[in-house]
């Protein structure tokens, strides 16, 4: 049984340790250009979590700290309830697989089959049969040098090899960057299938909205080295709406509507109509209708949703700072 489902985390994105694959406590890392952290966050077990945010905001730094190819300056990270001093122990590293945007050059001169053989050596649970099936099902040539196959085929090899290693945690750093739509679709199918087959947790960074829609259960947003929060994907999509209200003569009613909770943007248009971004469209709609004002509610585009989230995060931290 998976207990993560009962959680509804919005502001409180710190979950019980038992349900978390990874837990970060006050993790900080100074990079050349900027500081990442302090990060307090935990990764829900058995789900796909999408890590989103602008480039250079610390997503890859975070992933490298999770792989322990980078050590935090301060704070604590635990993997499956276990903390690590120094290098990551092999038994722990074997439970984690990683695919990045750019495949490592080391395997360039190998074929998919021989590279698989090498990986089997590192991952004791390696499933050779599944590896072969995946290559075949997704049209990856097994006996051609990896540097000579297409980008899409190469990335599908990387994913197949990561899945066949039978990890408990799969870290994906913009795996779909530059993929054509066909290879991309295969990637989505592969990852969804892998989730069905066994107990697996995936953390994926991406800029594609459709990828978040097709894969993610939770979304984590990073901005300027900070984690703004983690939300269940569907709650995120439902949270902010765009509400239009038709031109209203009565200024008093309008001012009253402005007091509705959840409004983070109020934009008066020249024709007297108003475009509002709000976290509580239902209240706004109801209040407006009671005053005889008609409204239109629209869902937001992904980019707008994310900027609402960032804005809301800043409003909250400003408010906290003032208190």
């Amino acid at each position: 049984m998976n207990k993560t489902t009962a959680h509804h985390i919005s502001d409180n994105y710190y979950m019980e340790d038992t349900d978390s694959v990874i837990v970060l406590k006050d993790v900080c890392k100074q990079r050349r250009q900027h500081k990442v952290g302090p990060l307090n966050w935990s990764l829900p077990h058995g789900c796909i979590t999408a890590l989103v945010g602008e480039n250079g905001t610390g997503k890859s730094t975070l992933l490298h700290m999770l792989l322990r190819t980078l050590y935090p300056d301060s704070g604590e990270i635990s993997w499956f309830g276990q903390t690590v001093q120094g290098e990551m122990p092999l038994e722990l590293r074997q439970q984690i697989a990683y695919v990045s945007e750019k495949p490592s050059r080391e395997e360039d001169r190998m074929t998919a089959r021989t590279a698989g053989g090498f990986r089997a050596y590192w991952y004791p649970d390696w499933d050779e049969q599944q590896f072969g099936q995946l290559l075949q099902a997704f049209d990856v040539p097994a006996d051609v040098q990896l540097s000579k196959i297409s980008k899409g085929q190469r990335q599908k090899f990387e994913l197949a090899a990561a899945i066949a290693a039978k990890p408990r945690l799969l870290l994906l750093d913009e795996p779909s960057s530059g993929l054509d739509p066909f290879a991309w679709k295969d990637m989505i199918i592969m990852l969804n299938q892998a989730m069905e087959q066994r107990d697996l947790t995936i953390l994926i960074t991406t800029h594609r909205m459709e990828e978040v829609k097709r894969l993610a259960d939770y979304v984590v947003l990073m901005h300027q080295g900070q984690i703004c929060g983690m939300q269940e994907k569907d709650e995120l999509y439902q949270q902010w709406k765009e509400v239009w209200i038709n031109p209203v003569q009565d200024i008093q009613t309008l001012n009253w509507l402005r007091e509705c909770p959840g409004i983070i943007e109020w934009d008066d248009k020249p024709d007297g109509s108003v475009r509002i971004l709000t976290a509580d469209a239902q209240i706004l709609q109801q209040t407006a209708e009671e005053s005889g004002i008609t409204t239109q509610v629209h869902g937001l585009e992904w980019e707008e949703l994310l900027s609402c989230w960032v804005k809301d995060h800043h409003l909250k931290t400003d408010r906290e700072a003032r208190l």
Binding site: T4, T5, D217, V297
Partner: protein, 130 residues
């Protein structure tokens, strides 16, 4: 099989409730027959582009209502709904929809007489159309 559930992104109604209401209606109306195997949670979530959390919640709610049953290892099935129960639940559903419509119309300043008149009018048009 493809379950005909449509998500309206421009609705203020929570997503899980949209999915739940439509799935319930499909079962009660008999469009999904007894014994139908529903897609796995991850598969359905991917079809609907929503999270597994939402689908799991919907399956659990409908299981609690006795409309679905999950067998370990095989999946989630539609259970048999007795005719009597089906009629009662169908009525409850329509009643809920009407209540919603009436309160929103009242909010917009409509009165009983106007509503009754419009309701008749729409029914008449539909009948003459078909």
């Amino acid at each position: 099989m493809r379950i005909p559930v449509q998500i309206n992104e421009n609705s203020a109604e929570p997503l899980y409730r949209q999915v739940e209401n439509q799935l319930r209606a499909l079962i009660i109306s008999g469009q999904l027959e007894e014994g139908t195997l529903l897609p796995s949670i991850r598969e359905f979530a991917s079809d609907l582009r929503c999270s597994v959390i939402t689908v799991r919640r919907v399956y659990q709610d409908l299981e609690n209502e006795g409309l679905l049953r999950t067998r370990q290892g095989t999946g989630t099935f539609v259970t048999g709904v007795e005719q009597e129960v089906r009629t009662r639940m169908g009525e409850e559903n329509v009643r809920q929809l009407m209540n919603e419509m009436i309160s929103r119309s009242y909010n917009m300043g409509w009165n009983r007489q106007q509503l009754e008149q419009l309701f008749q009018e729409i029914l008449d048009t539909r009948e003459s159309d078909s």
